[in-house]
Structures are given as C-alpha cells and as structure tokens.
Point group: D2
Chain length 386, copies 4
C-alpha cells in the first residue's frame, strides 16, 4: 500500500508543531533538568526522533544511523533495546548540542518522508502512527517541562511565543445523574488508540452523579483557608507524609504575595490568580483530600467515560479514583513496544480528559492517562462525583 497523503501530512504537521513549541526557547532552556520528572527539551526533540529511527528506519535497507551514540543518549526506558543514559543524568549532558539535535531531527524526518513516499507495509503504517502519537505525547510534556524550567527559575521569565492556551469557561453548577447498569467501556473502531484502551468490555456501575464543572481556583482557596492542608483526617496516610515531607501548602506555581495568591503561568509569568479558572497542578493526594473535605468523592474512570458526553472536558487532566490497571483481556504488545504502557500498571492513578497543553487530535473520550499520586507538574485538576 501507499501511505495516504493524510499520514504524511499528519507526520509533517506533528514534526513541525514540536519545533513551534520550542521556538521561544533560548538555547540554555533546552539543556536543564531541574527535577527527575522534567526532561531537557532537547532530550524530547532527540527522543521522539530516535523513536522513528529505532523502530522504523533502522530496519530499512540502506538506512545509515545519524550517529551511533544517539541511541544511547535518547533511549528512554526501553530496557529491551539496549543501554541508556539513566534518567537522572539527562540534564548533565551538554552534548549533543541543540543544533546537532535539530540536524538529527531533519535527517530522520527526511529519511522517513522518503519511506512514506514509497509503498509501505501496514506494519510501517502502524509504527508511524504510533510514532506520531508518541511525539504528540511528548509535545505536552515539552510544554509542562518548559513551564517547570521557567516557572522555577528565580527570574520567572515568560514563555512568550505564539502558542495560546484555551480560556476557561465556568458554567452554572449541575449534577449529572447516571442510572445504575452495565455499560460498555473502552475503545472501538479503527481509529488510532493505545493498547491500554482496547479490549472493550462491560462494567457495572451503581447510580451516581458527576459535576458538570471542574473545581475552580476560588474553590481551592476556600479549601486552603479552611485549613485543608493541615487536617490529617482528610488525607491518605501516604498523602499526609507527602504533604509534610514536601512542605506543601498550595498547588504548584502558587505564591502568596502580600497575602494574595499569585500564580506563574506561561503566558504572563507571575500574576494574580484567575478565580474562575479550573485549579491546576495538583497531585492525586490533594484532589482526594479536597473531595473528602467536600464530603464528596472523585469519579472512577468508568463513571467519567460513561458520562463524558454530558459535560465539557479537555482543560485539565482529571484525577480519578481508579488505579491504573489492565482492562480485562488486555495483552501487552510483543517486544519493545510492549513496554509502552503495560509496565506502568501498578501504583499509579488514571487521569481522564485532556488539558490545555494536550496536542490536537491526541486525546479522546477513552484515553487513559496515568501518573504517580504525588506528581503535579502536569495540568491536572479534578471533577467531583457523589
């Protein structure tokens, strides 16, 4: 078969968008890794490129690796494809330079375009599609990592650039009621999805109600003012330890200036908090404690998926009460790609929806995002259920 123009366009568009995200950066911004979860932007640029080289180009006759060393430098966690720089060391590497990484990108993009202009196998089509979605995932990580790098710098520079994030809209509070029953969960159809959404299956849910709105900054300030961060009984034991060990008193990027809450944002640097915007950059532990404080709870991922057509979503990744587990009948892919999702299915929570930083065409109503319970550098928020 010949790659559809669509796939080729989708590929090019994605590759270009990654560069657009990085355009406002100074070279220095590409290099640092202030915490282990935040990778240097140049690493994201190299890693998304390496993915195409490793899983597709390397197997093409006549393809010559751009550099023998780059596999070592830009492999992330694929234990089955060789050694790699340990994750904590990514920010210690000044070389390859940003210019070299961009050269690597161009080289691989061109080589892949050549492949796509010829006849391709369904296997390659599938791998290219995965590679594109992989890069889209890293586009979101690029934005959140840039936010961390700039927002934790004592100079708190703005990000600048042309990217605009959606404005938030607050609607009148409603409780969407869903009757008990057996519902179908998971992805169907031939569109792209990740393996962790597959194996459509049934779940039974008791009746429940779910809010049409995300919790807002104004509501979160009420929680703070009521001493929410000091009330042991609202928290999981592990959450309470996390609060105390890290001295947590507010969401990430919040600063109390002259008794008023400010927030670092990419668009404006440090500025007053937008009261009506959905709260962001909170951990699962905080989301849970907030729900306890309200006498309510977080929805499960199934409750979210069943009801999602009845509310707006996509501004914040929404913490659910569901642990990240395989669906019934889930099968890991063979080989290295099997490391993509399955091996993280323990001690993490599912987040549903999407965020203002999520790339176009990347998320969907069956999409299962997942993070560890103490992480909050993503645009994470919460929606209540009862």
């Amino acid at each position: 078969m010949i790659a559809t123009q669509t796939l080729l366009d989708f590929f090019l568009e994605t590759r270009t968008h990654t560069k657009t995200i990085c355009k406002p950066l100074q070279i220095e911004d590409y290099v640092v890794q202030p915490i282990v979860d935040v990778s240097p932007p140049k690493w994201h640029l190299g890693h998304t490129t390496w993915f195409f080289e490793e899983f597709i180009l390397k197997n093409q006759k006549g393809y010559k690796l751009f550099s023998d060393d780059f596999a070592f430098v830009f492999n992330s966690y694929y234990e089955s494809v060789g050694k790699r720089v340990v994750r904590t060391d990514r920010g210690n590497l000044s070389r390859p330079t940003v210019a070299q990484v961009y050269a690597y990108r161009a080289y691989v993009t061109n080589a892949l375009l050549e492949v796509l202009e010829k006849e391709i196998t369904p296997e390659i089509e599938k791998l290219v599609t995965i590679g594109i979605h992989h890069e889209k995932q890293h586009q979101e990580l690029l934005i959140t990592d840039i936010k961390y790098i700039l927002g934790n710098n004592p100079l708190m520079p703005e990000y600048g650039g042309g990217l605009r994030f959606r404005e938030s809209v607050k609607n009148a509070q409603q409780w969407i009621h869903i009757p008990e029953g057996v519902y179908i969960i998971g992805h169907s159809g031939t569109d792209f999805c990740y393996d962790n959404e597959l194996s459509q299956h049934k779940v039974y849910t008791h009746e429940y109600s779910i809010s049409n709105n995300l919790v807002t900054n104004a509501e979160w300030i009420d929680f703070i003012n009521d001493g929410g961060y000091n009330k042991t009984l609202l928290w999981h034991a592990e959450g309470w330890d996390w609060v105390n060990a890290n001295g947590i008193k507010a969401p990430m990027y919040w600063h109390l200036v002259d008794n008023e809450w400010y927030q670092y944002t990419l668009e404006k640097g440090l500025g007053k908090i937008d009261q009506d915007a959905p709260v962001s950059h909170i951990s699962y532990f905080e989301a849970f404690a907030y729900a306890q404080w309200k006498g309510l709870r977080l929805p499960t991922e199934f409750e979210w998926e069943i009801a999602n057509k009845k509310f707006n979503w996509g501004e914040r990744w929404e913490w659910t009460e569901s642990a990240y587990l395989p669906y019934p009948g889930y099968m890991k892919e063979e080989g290295a790609l099997g490391e993509y999702n399955g091996k993280f299915m323990v001690n993490q929570k599912v987040l549903r929806g999407g965020s203002v930083a999520t790339s176009d065409k990347h998320t969907r109503h069956t999409y299962r995002n997942f993070f560890q319970t103490g992480l909050r550098w993503q645009f994470t928020g919460l929606r209540l259920a009862k």
Copy 2:
C-alpha cells in the same frame, strides 16, 4: 445489655493466645526491630493493650491509666489521638521492660473484664469486638515479625514452642470456570467485619477461570531456573527497579546451599524446601512476573470472592490484581477509628484468603487484606487465573 459470655470468652481467649505465641521467646527477642515493617514483639503486646485502654477504658468513670507515658510509646498511627514514637524508633526502646508490658497487659485485661461483667452499651460491645479483631491481626504480625527476627539472625534459631502450622495439601490441577455476569460483592449479615468489606454492591465480571491450587515451591524453582528474575519484560517498571535495588533472586528466607534451595521456617530453622508446599514470602511484583511468565494473570479480588467456595484457601495470603480501593458507598468511621482502613486506600494491593499464621475466626471470604507491592515478610502466595 449485659455482655454475652461469648464476648467475654472471646476476649479472654484472644488475650491468652497472644501470650501463647510469645511463650517461646527470649526477653531479647521482644525488643528488636530489624526493619521498619517488623515491630518488636513487646510493642505488639503493648499496642494491642493500649487500644483497649485508649478507646474503651479511658472513658470509663474511675479508670486510672496504667502509665501516662504508655500512650506515647504504644500508639501506632492514630494521628488524631496524640503524639507517638515514630515507627522507625520502636526498636530503640529498651524500656518499658517486657515484665512491665506484661503487667500492663494484666492490668488492662482485668479492667476490661470488670467492664464486661457489668452492663455494657452496644457501643462498647462494638469497640471490644473491634479490639479483639485488632489483636488477632497483631497475632499474625507477631508470628511474621518473630519469623523475621529469628530468620534473619545469623544463628537462625528455631522458634520452638507448641504452635503448629497447618500442613499443605496439593490437589490435582483444575481450572474452575465462572460464567460472565453481575455478582454481589462484600459482607452482609450481622457478624463482625471491617468497614472496608461493607457496602455490599454489584460488579460485572467477564467469564474467567481460576486455579484450584496455589503455585508451589517446585513451580517457583522452575521460574527461577528459567531466569525469571532476569527477564525485564516480565516485570513492571517499578518491580524491575525493586528487584535490582534489593538484589532479589528468590523468595524471602530462601538460601542456595550447595546448589540446592533451603528455606528458613519457624518449625525447623534452616531446612530443605518442601517442593509441594505453596510458595510463600513473595511480593506482588514477583507474583505478577510469575503470572506473566506463565502467560496467565492474577485474579481480581472480585473473581476470587465469587469463586472462593470452589477451592481451598487459607494457607497463603493471595495477591490479587486489584488495587486496594473503597467499595462504592464506603464511608470512613468518624474520628480515630476512621484511620483504621480508609487512609491506606492508595498504592496498595488487595490480598485475599488467609494464611497459616492467621488467627482462628479472624479471616472470612469477604476479608480484604492489603499491603504495599514490595513487601513479603507475610505468608504471601499466589493463585493464577485466565
């Protein structure tokens, strides 16, 4: 109402059994805490006693605390009832002495008997019942902690004493088949259960099969011999880190002597492994990797509960694939007792069944035990599903 003789007998029996477990110990054995999860036996003796004092006796008119300091020493994790010795420090306390702790036990037992011989409220009946079950839980911890203390001592002394653990029986392998459907889960009736089993509710399960047997030591040796501990792709990412950080190569208490596997047991000290006995002292990570290696999986806790009448259980706590989460409609108790279960409902896995170390009348088919995924000093094993 007047406490039934049954309750009084149950109380006394339980208090006595705790002492029976400790009878073979030397005074020195009561004191040490070789790892944070293993508490000194004298701490268990004091803590189970403190529970009755704190939640019942303290509120009885005329009751005089045995000692003002003991609440500080023997509180475990109840953040809402005052300060406490941090958990890592329990093994640093030589005082109170073992004799003082036994005196404390006798004092509290007698005081509670006096209470039980008079008219009691349903509230007190409930609290005493909880206190008894709390002590039964600690009886199992006593046995596993003693095993750790003696089994990790370079002299590897036997435990001795009169306690006998059930022998294991291996049956012919069968796969129990359960059809799809909506099933009822959770405790009903008026017998005692913990709050985490309550709120009976429905779940839908697809059809599945579950083994009538636990995985045996012989089968585990096959896993080891096939390189199971070295095959990255069998493991969760977090499990793989755990294996490497701790140099795990076999279940806890296993020793390779002259190329043959030996095992420390309470009854015999170091001796050859019983091939047919169910494997024990494995972490969730290991249980999962084993199932992957077999091309099978662990059951969910619901699958286990639905099928449990069709197989023998009670020799090992069986790791399930289910994360420890609240049942729909779960309500934490008010106040300190609310800290009993709910606050641990994150980043742990449910274990079902019971073990050779579980006290009589303590477990049941709806009982939900839970531990973190890397722990293995309990008598933990696994049963496969598909």
Copy 3:
C-alpha cells in the same frame, strides 16, 4: 616467663569491672542500638571477649572456640580477620542472648586464666595487656552508650547501681603561660601505651596561655543566650551545616523545661543543670564556635600536653584544634592489630585528658583520644587557649 601476679590481677579486675558497669541494666537494655555510634551493651561484652579469643586463645593448642558463629557476630572492624555483622545491624540481633554472652565471657576468662597461670611469652603478655586496655576503652563506651540508651528513652530512667562519678571542682580562673620553645611530645618509658603515642619527637610552639579551668555549663548558657547557635560566622561551614541539619540548639541531653535548662544524667535522670560543672556532650564544631565567640581558641594537642601538669584534668575529654595525624616516625603494627589506630588518622580531631567515665589506669598525659567532629555522646568538653 611467668605472668606476673599483677597482670593476672589486672586482667581479672578489668573483667569484673565490666560486669559491675552492666549490673544495673535490665536485659532489654543490653540489646538496643538507637544510633549507629551506640552499640548494644551485650555487643561490648561479647566484643571485648572475642578480642582475647581471636588474638590469643585461638592460637593456643587445644583451645576450642566457644561458638563458631561468635567471631562473625562480635568482630567489629578488623577487616583482615574475616566477615562481620555490619555495624548498623548490631541492634537487630536478639541472639545470642545476654545469658549466652555472659557464658561466653566466663568461658574465655577461665581459658585465659589457665594460659596466664602457665609460662607465657612476651608476645602473649603484650597481647593480654592490649586486650585489657581495649576492654577498658569499651568500659567507657559502655557507660556512654548506656547513657544514650536510657537518656533518649521517653521514660528517661535513671541508671542506678553503685557507680559514682567524680564531682566537679571549679577553681579561680587563671591563664597558664608557656614560653616558646622546642618541646618533647609523646610517650616514653616501658609502661603501656598505644602505638599512636609512640615515637617521641620534638615540636616547636610559640608562646601561649591556656586556661586552668574547663568551660562550665553557666558559661555555655551565656553562649546560648547570646545567640551562639544562630551566628553563622562563628562556625565552620561544615559545622554550620551540621547545626542546621540536626537542629542543634544546646548540648546533648539538655532540655528546656519552663524556660530553665535541665539535663539528663545517669545519677539523677532529668534534673536541673549544675551551673559550675564543666559543660559536657558537645561536638568539636560547638567547642570551636564557643572559642570563636570568646575571641579565643582551642589549644593544640601539643600545647595541652606541654602544659597539662599545671592544671587539673580528667573530667571531660577536651577537644583540641589538632587533627588526628600520625606522629613523625609512626609505624602501624603488622596485621590486624595495625587496624587499631592508624586507619582512623583522617578527618578526626584529637581529644586529650580523660573523663568521669574513663576507667582507672586507662588514660595518661600522652593519651590521644579521637572522634569525628560532629560526635557528642562522649563526655566531651573544652578548655580555652590564647
């Protein structure tokens, strides 16, 4: 030669005194190791015994080891004589029991007495003498470790027993003036001393003055009240980090109760501070900061040794400004005994004198004690120079 009655008496006296020190202990007190520097008393009992067995008895024809495992359990840091329990694990061993350790002591004492009643070589006489002094060193450690174990227990029990510690005497302040010149330093004569005192040699010192008194608790309270623990510039960089990392605000065992300073002592448990007594349980960092605050300095070990006949000493180990280094011409012993002193000659400070916990006939005016700069569970104090 035949061992002099003196040596035999000295040996027996020493062995007996160790038991006297432990007499007031409960069995539980023998077992715990609350910090890595504090060893369980039963370990001291076993280790001082092992020393005689390892270095003398093992080489005697016909001697049978008390237990094959005890070398493993009671070796401390002699890397060259085999494996050992790592230091941090000493407090995790409930076995051997205290009774077994006392049996081991009796067995070895008797075996050594048999050796001493026959003709012995000078080599054995030397080794027995070292073994006696080694045990005397551990007698002091026993006292300081017992103090730590009881004094950090929330019940703060008194030590009891018959041991009485010398009372302190404060004299009128005088400055002893010593003219410049070349002085002789180090041990001479045939009496016992450690290898680190040997190789008598010359040092040049400029003129200096040294105080006849140790700094007292009353003076230390002035330092605290003047904010000494908060004034960065008084401290070494490493000392300042130590103060902050450990939240140090006063000497060890000091407690501020109702705005008045109390102190835990072995004799009285918690009681008001004796204002005139020399300050105790301070680190080198604190001693240095105090001297800076006074505009004075600590003496070098040479200044101390040259002047020591002109003042009273022996109540506190006195921190000096001297790093613990080999004397010119110092030669480590061959083999395991060479590990006794030489291998610690880096990153430690010399302390001179002796303390109320030092055993009779153990210290002398050339004795060089040494500890790391942040340790303070010994009876450590300071004397000023200028």
Copy 4:
C-alpha cells in the same frame, strides 16, 4: 592614590583570560552541573563578576546594579551577604542566559575600570587585588569543571581552543635530604597572599627526605596491577569505605579499553595514557594508600615548603599529610571576606604547589590549597617523602 597601571592591566588581563578559557565552549556547555562540586561555566563567569559588584561597586556612589536578581543567583557561600541559590541547584538555571552573563561581565568590567581610572583608596586596591586572585582561582575551576563536563559526556568531545597545557618532564629519581631544625613557614613581604598563608611562624621538623619527582602514571599502573585498590590494610577506614561505595578502580578519567589504560584529556579526548606523565585526578585517600604500598609517606605541608626550592613543582596539586588548619596567630578577616578561607579549616587536607590548570601569577611556594579527602576532579597528584 591612583591605581597603578599595573593593577589596571592585571585586572583587564585576568578578565580577558577568563573569556579565553570559555571560547571553545558551546552555549550548552555553560549550563550543566553534573555533580555538586562542578559548577556551570556561566555560573563562574557570573560569580567572579558578582564579587567585584558586591564588595566594591555596590559601595560606589551612583553605581546601579546590573540586575537586582543576580546577587541571589551568583552568590556562592557568603552566608553573611544574603540569600543564595543552593549549590546543588546551579545546574537547574537556564536563565540568565550566557549572553546576559557576558553583558553583566562587560558592564561590571567597565564600571570597575572607571573606578580604577580615578583616585582609589588602599582598601579598594586591596579588594580589587583579592577580586583578581579570586577570579584566577575560578579560572582553574573553570578548566577542571569543563574537563568534568566534557570528559563525562558519553560523546567525550575534545575541548579544542588554543589553551596549551605544559608538557611533563621526568627527571632521574633523587631523594632530597633536609636536616632537622626549626624553620620559618608562611608568607612574608608585601606581595599578595591569602590570609591563610600569613602569620609567619616557626616549626620544628625532624630530618627527612623528599622526592624530586611526582609519582607517574607508569608507577600508578604498577600499584593497580599489584591489587592496590583491593588491599584493605593500605587504606584509611574512611578511604576504604569511599573506594567501595564509589567502585573506584583507577584515577578519574581512566578507562580500560581492550586491557590497556586510556585517559580522557582536554587536548586529545580519549587517548592512550602517557606513561611518564605525573598521575593526576586522584583523591587524598588514593595518594595515602599509594604511599603506604611503597612503604613511604606523604610529606607534611611544612616539609614541602621547606624543600620546594630543590625540586620542580607546578604540574599537579600535591596532596600533603597536613590537615588544613589555621597557622598560629591566624585571624579571620572581619565580615564576609572572613568567610573566604577560615571557615573551611576542618576535615580537609592541604595541597601544595600548583597545576597545569593554575593561572599565571596565581600560586606561590607558600600557597595553601585545600580539598576534602575524596575529591579528585582537580589536577591532583603526589610526591613521596620518607
């Protein structure tokens, strides 16, 4: 007084040389901090500039700070002049950019030139001189930090640029004999020196011999081949722990390739070891163990200073056996400059001489360099004594 042309030239020369060192760097190389001891080059550029601004310009009438935030970013350890970025975070700062730092340098250089072109006080002359020498110290750190950044990058790039390091010369082995006596130690005269060299004083030394040569790579290979890194008894206890905790088997930058030793150097990247060159990048622990292995010892800093006119020095910083301590009569400067040297006088060793990376006119025969005993990213070597 008017600043001499010499001072002005010295200042300009120094400022220019710092830029020359950095010329071969890519922007990315300026940013990273792979270990805590290695600072990002742009931090050195900013910090040496901040020193002039903080201690001189800030007090000049009419001077306007280049940026209010830079004091926070570029202060290093001066606790007495305000808050600072913690040292471990230097490599997390992408801003200010390299271009901004160079602009800061130009701004401060010009402002200081203006000051120097007018009449200046002796105080300012002194501060400028200190600032110049401070920058020269950081020039050496720049070179060693660049070496660490490039030499630990998996691509091992050469440094390039025009800097040439002196070639090593090996002479026939001689032992320089020095008779016993009282010698004068320390700096005299009006030339610049640091406070730690002052207070000339007398020391007595016994007779000794000192080698005319540094230990070479060829000799070090003999030490490795004889198992030097595995022989416990050659090492200090703390050194032995250091070897094992860090898996040390050779000097830093050495790599065993096909059974032959290679070394990363700035000039050539990875290349075969020069057998005759003095060994470099070793810790004090290694230097000590080597001397033990030879049956010899390291010289004291006094022995080195007394004999240094009789041998060549300046290729390697030479570890001495002397702890870094104040000279008799040493007085810390008042205020922030007093933090320069005195507060490090504990748990470090003195190194004498200079290295191929030391800037011109920076070291001298009384110069006292000092580092902690486990550090080895400087050009450190050793000379033997007996």
